[in-house]
Structure formats: C-alpha cells, structure tokens
Symmetry: C2
Subunit: 406 residues, 2 copies
C-alpha cells in the first residue's frame, strides 16, 4: 500500500489535533503503509520536513493527549501557493517530493486559505494526471467556511467565550459602580465568535449588554448613545466587540488608534486595539470608568476548556476525509451537515473544494436583533448544541498535560 500525508495550516485551534488524530487513525485502519505529517504545512513539505505519525502515535494515551493538546501539533504556516498556471516550478517540486514519499492520499486541515492550497494542488494534479487524492479537512475558530453548517474549532472557542463572558460579567459588577467593559473577540470579517458572547445569558447571568459584529457598519455616535442609555439601567455594561468592526467608509475601527500595524503573508492587516480604542472613546464621552479586555490568542488555544461535541466532530471530519480519499474522491472538503437542532444531529458530506476556497460565510443579518444589540433565538438554537459536553483535561501535577514532542 502507498502512504498518506497530512498537514495543518492557518491559525491554531483547540481541536485541530483531534482532526489530525481522526485522519491518522482512519488512514491506518484502511491500510496506509505510513502516515506522514508535514511539519509546518506545505511550506515545510517544500523543504521535505516530514515526520512519521505512525511511529509517533503508537499508544492510545498519545492519541488521547493529542486530542487534548491545543495548537497545531505538526506546526503551521501561512504560505500561499501561486496559481499553477503562473508558476509551475513550485508544483513540480512538491509533486516530486510526494512521489518520493509514495503518497497516494493528501490531507490538509485548515480554513479558507488552506482550502485554496488544496484547490490548487488538486487542479495541478488533475492537469498532470496524478493519482494523488487531495482532501480538505475544515478547521477554523472563525466558523466562516462556506457549505458547511459549522466548522470544527468554532464550538470550543464559542464555549470558551461563553464561559469567560460569564466570569467577566461577574467580575465587572463587583463594585456596583459605573463601569463599561469592552471585550475584544476574534473574527476579521465574520462575527461568529463575537456572537457566541450571547450564549452567556441564562438563569445565573444577565448576559452581555451589547454585541458588535463586523457584519454591520459601526457608527460611533449610535454606539455611544446605546451605551449611555444602557448605563442608565445598570451600572456595569459589558460589551462584546469583534476585532474586525468597520466604519461605514470601510476603515477598521482599530485603524483609528495610533498603534503600529502590520500585514501578514496573505495581506491581512493584523487587527488589534479595537476594544482599547472604544474604551478610550467611551471614557472621553461618558461619565464612567472603562476597561478593555482582549481575549487574544487565549480564545483559540484554550485546550483546558473545549467542547466535547466539537472535539468529536473534529475527529469525525478527519475520519470522513480519509474514507472519501481511500474511496477515490479528490478536490473535496468534508462538510458538516446538520440534520436537526433538538435533538442535535449532524452528519458529514463532501463538497467541492473550489466552492469553499477563498469564500467567507458571514453571520446572517436576520440572526441579529432589530435593535442591533443582541443575537436572536435562531442564532442561539444554532450555536448552543455546538458547545455541549466537555472532554476532561488530563491534569498532571496541577497542570493540563499535552502530548510530548518526540
């Protein structure tokens, strides 16, 4: 039997390694001679940096630790392949390496940009008559992939945000004095993660007071008016704000601050400082103390607080990708298809990678309430099943244990 190879790409999540475990176990069960891991994704593969996962993952405890280890076990990259038609050399090199490793099944776990990689590899493979099957395995905390009900990684990040918002709201009310707390949440163009702050409300928590998504243009004056009105009803106002909110003219709110900004390999501006800017804005205009909290990378790497539903689905999409590839499918991504909300039932299906790559799925505007302050019940019915149940971390000597690099 030939070999399989799997890589991880893009931003880390808490469950990306569960997908890795799913791909690996399914490939082994289906008889792959070797399962290789690319170190640092396609960029590492170009330098022939690979490891043998079959060797590394022989014990069950390693698989269990892998599922509980956040961030990309194999390392990641943000490397954008050129178009096959424009620069064939990179593809020739990659396919030569794959041939040398006797690869028949190729898996890439990632988000939009990673699906772009799979799309280009599959296209080049088809053009050159390669028999390698290329499969995309969805992963992103941002939940912005098209054609899938949701994306592995989102449920755990949403659960983390729900839990932490409850804690922040408790903390913010403690003095009983006027306080506006702005919590900055990830999500460049899609507000799925920020929307998850709505999950905090319940019998034991009054919930966040205002949610600002990047799907709607941000108006400073309307924002200040809302905050002023809310603070008349309660001293502590807690606001969940996406890092990616923009003014009507298209500028990011964080661009209004003075901080230096940089741009990554995909040309994305590094967004940060949105909550801090708004915190200063409120402090200048309203008679209240303010505070900003950035959930920062903690929201994507909190392996100590994951959704078991998410971990399980992440594992399943990995397995479904292997199954499909071994059955001859290529240029596809495994998607999650929801059958029902209550009871929550979900299955997998295959979608064309070209219909996923480089597109973004945003939060439907009808899931935002009319006052533009909160999410609707439809959103809660969508998101709540994804945060259910826990995977108990393995604590050793007081700290969560991760897989040891070998």
């Amino acid at each position: 039997m030939p070999n399989a190879i799997v890589g991880q790409s893009g931003g880390p999540t808490s469950v990306i390694n569960s997908s890795l475990a799913g791909v690996m176990q399914a490939c082994q069960m289906r008889g792959a001679e070797q399962v290789y891991g690319m170190l640092h994704g396609i960029q590492g593969l170009l330098e022939e940096k690979v490891c043998s996962l079959s060797e590394r993952m022989k014990s069950f405890i390693n698989i269990e630790l892998l599922k509980r280890t956040p961030s990309s076990y194999l390392g990641s990259c943000r490397y954008r392949l050129p178009e096959p038609e424009e620069d064939e050399a990179v593809f020739e090199k990659l396919f030569a390496i794959l041939k040398k490793l006797d690869i028949r099944w190729f898996f890439y776990i990632g988000g939009n940009d990673s699906m772009d990689t799979i799309n280009k590899l599959a296209r080049y493979g088809q053009q050159t008559g390669s028999d390698i099957r290329f499969m995309g395995v969805p992963k992103t905390i941002d939940n912005d992939l098209m054609l899938t009900d949701h994306t592995p990684g989102y449920g755990s990040a949403a659960k983390y945000i729900g839990v932490v918002m409850k804690e922040v709201i408790r903390d913010a009310t403690v003095y009983g004095t006027k306080y506006v707390t702005l919590v900055e949440i990830m999500g460049r163009n899609a507000g799925w993660l920020t929307a998850a702050a709505a999950l905090a409300r319940g019998e034991d928590c009054e919930g966040v007071d205002l949610i600002c998504l990047p799907e709607l243009p941000f108006h400073e004056d309307r924002f200040l008016a809302k905050v002023e009105k809310m603070q008349k009803e309660r001293a502590s106002v807690v606001i969940a704000v996406s890092e990616g909110i923009k003014l009507a003219d298209g500028r990011f709110v964080c661009e209004l601050s003075d901080d230096a900004r940089s741009v990554d390999a995909f040309g994305h501006i590094n967004l940060t400082g949105t909550a801090r800017y708004l915190s200063n804005l409120v402090a200048r205009n309203l008679p209240t103390k303010t505070r900003s909290v950035e959930l920062s990378i903690l929201q994507r790497c909190a392996g100590h607080l994951t959704s078991r539903t998410d971990i399980t689905e992440a594992f399943q999409v990995g397995g479904a990708a292997a199954k499909a590839a071994f059955e001859g499918e290529t240029a596809k991504m495994v998607a999650l298809k929801r059958l029902s909300n209550d009871p929550y039932q979900c299955t997998t299906e295959l979608v064309n990678i070209s219909e996923v790559a480089n597109y973004e799925k945003k939060v439907p505007l009808e899931w935002i309430n009319e006052a533009r302050t909160d999410m609707t019940q439809d959103f809660l019915s969508y998101a709540r099943p994804l945060i259910q149940a826990e995977l108990t971390p393995i604590y050793i000597n007081g700290l969560t244990q991760h897989i040891v690099e070998s």
Copy 2:
C-alpha cells in the same frame, strides 16, 4: 445568640466565595442567630445594605455553586476608612448599624487594604469598649500579605497562569518563525503571579524564556540583549512580564506608553500596557514579529479553572476565623502556616492584624536565578503544592454554572 456579619472587599478572586462559605457555615454551626452579608463591603454597610446569608444559603447545592462562583458574591468596594482619631463620625455610624443588627462577630475577607479596615474597626472598638470581635480573612491573588505562608486566591490564579502559559507557548511556536510573545500578568509591586509562569516548564513544555518581576529594576537595554540572545537559540521567545515592572528611577514601564491612565480610590495607578510597550520596543529594535497578551481580569475570575487545594484552604481560613472569633479573639487575621512541602501540609494560625495591614510581602530575591531570567527550584517547591488538584466545575447546558443571585 447574637449575629455575625461578613463582607468582601478589594479585587475579586476565584476562591473568595469559598472563604465566604467557610465563614458562614462555621458561624451557623457555632450558633449565630443570623449570618448577614454586607453588600459591597464596608461601603454598603454604611448605607445599611445587608442581606441574610442564612436565608440565601439553605441548600447544599447553593454552597457548592458558591464555591465555584468567581468574583465577590456579596459585591466589593475599594473604600478606605479614615483614621478613628481623625474622623470619629464614620465609626459612630458603623457601630450604630452593627448594634442595630445585633452583631457580635465581624469578618472581612480581603487583602492589604481590607486588613487596614479591620485594624481600624478593631482599634475603635477597643477604644470604645465594644464587644464585637473583628477578624480578617486573607484573600488576594497577589499573594502579597505578610505573616501568612501564602494567601487564598493565589493558588488558583497561579494554576490558571501555569495552564495558560503552556497553551500560549504551544500557540506561539506553531509557525516556526521568529516571534516574541509578551504576556502581561497582574501584580503591582509583588511578582508572585508573574513568577507562577515558571510552573509551565515540564516534560511536555519548554517553559517561558524570561520572567520579569517588579522586585528588580527593569533595564531596557539589558532586556533587549537578553531577548536577542534567546532568539538565536529558538525562534519563538515567550516572556512573562509583571504589569508593575519599574525602571531604576522608579517610573512604571507602562508609564512610558502614551495611554491615558487613571488612579483608584487608594491612589494606585491603573497599570496596563506594559507588555504592549515592550512588544513595540522589541519590534523597533530586533528583526522579529512581536505580540502582547494581557491576561487581564481573566486571571482573577477564572472560576472554570481553580486549584482544589486553594478552594479548600480558602474555605478553611473562613472557618478558622469564625472559630477564633467565637472563642473571643479580635483584631486578628487567620494566616496559613506551612508545615512541609513534600508531603504538603499546612495549618492555620492567628496573627495580629496591625502587623499585616498595609504591608506587602515580595518575592525573595534569592528565588530569582542568577541570570535574572527565571525562578529557582525553591520557588517551584513553594508554589507547586498550591496548584494541585481540581474542583470540577458544574456544567449546565455547555457552560459553567454559578450561584443565582437571589
């Protein structure tokens, strides 16, 4: 039997409510007619804002939820009592309220400033022949109280920091590219929390590369030289930095940034922006990407990740305070006295409140290594027992459940 009253003051922690539960249960068992709670501490008491804890906490599940609920259940304040000799009116008013409520036992859970409150109340009480017993119950994530081996609240915050640093280190290494990550940790003058970042190192984690405590003056040039040297050995450098680090001339490093700053009721500058300032400093001087992460209030309100040792000790110091007060002690604080590290054994004792109030215990300089980059084994032997074991959160519908305000 007369009544007891208990209040919470200062910054919230994850275990301050466990001390509240400990005081309350012990007072009930010893026959207090009523256990009152001050709403928002001494400031609320001055406005006669109290509740009946005996009424609210009748069921065992409420006590269990209380132990798992972060932040101050009764609300907090940062109110500084005047000296009894300078302004008697406030004390007359307070003692009249206490008399009206038929209070014999008075408990205040908090840090340095709260012990100052107990100290003044006890002094005024003694001067005026009051029979009320005033007891301090220690609480602060900062671990900076004198005469106690450690302070309830520290163990859970230290555990949170250890767990999160492991996750951040995993996240930071993912691209294999040059990255300097600065993590800002609380601690105005004492570096106990920042030192806890040293706990992250283990079989499965290389640990943080540099720890900057407020106990040592900060030199920008030496800092940059250290970072440059470290990055030659590994691409990803993770640095734990206290919010309170100061230059040799006494200025806070965060004062060097341009952000607006404010001062609280005790005259403390709100420290924030230290990691951001250093992140910009590194980016300007070294050829590397940088990032700053503020653990912010998350480190003090993370009820979902607490140390069972800490929760248990917090409960015990509450109970010990009640026992001592009922036995006639006053003007005392319950302290923790460590008997041994391994096996870890710890008991409680009473110390004079006047020897605790307004003092600060700093990290011993001999617990910092010679290169001034890390903590010594002595620190680890001190801190490791405090983070042991977990109190399983109660999850309902995917989120941690807290006590419902009644």
